[in-house]
Subunit: 156 residues, 2 copies
DNA sequence: CCATATAGTCAACGAGGTTGTCCGTTATGT
DNA sequence: ACATAACGGACAACCTCGTTGACTATATGG
């Protein structure tokens, strides 16, 4: 009979597993022509969505102030991943949209994530991977995109 | 037959699970007299270790510059969690040690982590929790404490 | 004995977050 | 219809926490 591991191991392993996957993703993105993307950017792209968004909306979704969201957009605009256009129906709003390059990064990310997942299925076995995902779903909130991560990743 | 989930779900769930546990920990620490501790601090305490450490060593272990490590120590010293004493064998070194309060925080953290783990064992079942931990061990590096997290958590 | 390496500290800077303020535009209520 | 409130965006000042560079004091080894 083996004894229980200390309680602090699980959260550490969860975080390490996250890091391993994200590091893999960004090594690939780097190799595929997106060396400047940082982990945070994926969340921002996702929050922008296919129809675009505004800085205020973005801030709400990401859990930061509208000013912080505005700075993020500015930086992504400089990198060529988003553009800001004015809303014809509301002169106050400026709609942030992904550029072709932004869409490309998002598509590549999706493909890389799927490749990583199938690697893991190969290592753990498909059933164990399923069970892992099921268990994680059981202990996390349902809403995947309510992450509220402010300065967790360097966005420089 | 159900289809595979998109590859991006797993890393998100891993991160969310980590967040859920860490948020739980710090809500408890808050209630038990350590409201100022932030997630990063646990890693710093661990890096200091029972025999103390120096700022340079700390920086190496945490993956930050010695100056950044020094600032962390300064802040923890102001909060009463560590003290700096001079090394009698080497007048250059100042050894950082946990205070009684620091040791208390570490002991409480360990107890809270164990409580959280047993909660999870109740929700998933002990076997599923074991399997989860085994699978995570399989996909993460063996060395738990080589985390290299610089500004991942707010330390304020 | 002197050259080099190490520990700590100070200063300047940058990234990225915050709050407060202001302006122009839209929505609302009487 | 018009006064007022709410909203979106931008600007400024500030904070925290990381960085690099320079400098001092102490060890250490040829």
């Amino acid at each position: 009979m083996s004894s229980d591991p200390p309680g602090f191991e699980l959260p550490l392993r969860l975080f390490l597993a996250f890091r391993v996957i994200i590091d893999d993703l960004h090594a690939e993105l780097d190799a595929q022509g997106h060396p400047d993307l940082r982990p945070m950017h994926g969340f921002v792209f996702q929050a922008i969505g296919p129809d675009g968004s505004t800085a205020v909306e973005l801030g709400r979704r990401l859990g930061v102030s509208k000013q912080a969201a505005g700075k993020m957009v500015e930086s992504l605009e400089r990198m060529g991943y988003v553009v800001r256009t004015s809303d014809p129906d509301d002169a106050r709003r400026k709609i942030v949209r992904l550029t072709e390059r932004g869409v490309d990064a998002l598509a590549r990310s999706a493909r890389i994530f799927d490749r990583i997942r199938s690697d893991l299925a190969g290592r753990l076995g498909p059933d164990r991977l399923r069970a892992l995902e099921d268990d994680l779903r059981a202990i996390t909130p349902a809403d995947l995109w309510r992450l509220d991560m402010p300065g967790w990743f360097g966005t420089s």
